[in-house]
Symmetry: C2
Subunit: 247 residues, 2 copies
Amino acid sequence: MGNERSMINKNSHTSQSMKAVCLLSGGLDSCVTACIAKNAGYELYALTFDYGQRNSREIKSSFSVASAIGVHEHRIVKLDLSWIGGSALTDVSIDMPERGSAEEIVYNKSIPISYVPMRNTVFLSVGGAYAEAIGADVVFIGANEVDYSHYPDCRSEYFDAVRRVFHMGSKRGVEGAPVGIVTPLIAMSKAEIVRRGMELDAPLDLTWSCYSGGSIACGRCDSCLLRLKGFHEAGAEDPLDYESGKV
Amino acid sequence: MGNERSMINKNSHTSQSMKAVCLLSGGLDSCVTACIAKNAGYELYALTFDYGQRNSREIKSSFSVASAIGVHEHRIVKLDLSWIGGSALTDVSIDMPERGSAEEIVYNKSIPISYVPMRNTVFLSVGGAYAEAIGADVVFIGANEVDYSHYPDCRSEYFDAVRRVFHMGSKRGVEGAPVGIVTPLIAMSKAEIVRRGMELDAPLDLTWSCYSGGSIACGRCDSCLLRLKGFHEAGAEDPLDYESGKV
């Protein structure tokens, strides 16, 4: 079993189910994505990456979220990307930016310092390999390009390119049934994601979004600001506590 | 530094060099590929994956090959794929096929049991991330589709699809200078690869191709049969010893 751990919930298994791999970071978006997949009738195989991210609290949250949702299997894949460097998410020597407001993030069109080189490509590759091996039809990923479209690997046309790789570069693809990639949040605003999560009774209280790695969400990093904006616009209260208060 | 180890050869560094990441398995093809890259003037950043393959002897060979060629940096990335299963390369409970001759392999058009789900996609993703972070222009990979074209992730059209992902899903791509993928062996026969390696004084005696994981190359697995055929057709003698003799 090497570097990954797994949790298998034997009770949730039915041999007739459609299987889906679901990338589960422990954050808000992947939690809602997993609930959407579950609600669509899929048996879930959750995949969480321990890649040397500074907010390792996210990984702990992924366990609680996976358990609350009732996934069939949850695997933690250890793949250190911190040696690759170049990102504030994996390198504590790079300051995490703090901006005044969520609007500042939305309207700033440059690629942020939290960009991890080709991260989604690495995650989708492993997710696709896992899906092919277990006979899952699809990989779910909670990317969205509305509120925070500056990550190049969160855009629709990027996912289309990866779909083609899955088609061209796998046994399943050659056989005419490539593993698909489903991005249910791609066109949603953060407020719509929060609302959809609440409709589905997603365990939003167990998720963790803060980039900064403290024991309480900072409320000032890009991820906290966008999350708070989402709850605010959805007319809901974020169940998490924030160092900054819920501004 | 986590799970990977690195070897840095400070002497080979010049700040003006063009950098290339080179996927280095320890086998014949990746050795010749690295020599081609070196010969083209690149400063090499070699990447070897410890993915739970049964022939871990290959990884040891990658150290000797990297050292003999004179790479600037050599990293071993630990990413266990054996839990994904489904391949004779990572699962010792699956028998490695033994066929009568190399011709039988070349003319059998089915995808072999040694296929590892989406392996090259996983390797190229990490290689691309590394290249983007260090400012390398390209990733070299020693795939070829002539003698052994049944792996879907060794075909030209597959690499074109990954090039598009590098273009669409990375900061470098958005900025108009995506990391490229170079496949210098893609259209060569095994005999041509052996000849090109000999022309470049590639350390072919240090490479390891056998799939089966023994201390001497078996001479019967697909990889040994194709290698022996290559040397034979190149009119050269393979420097390795074989359990089966050099038939």
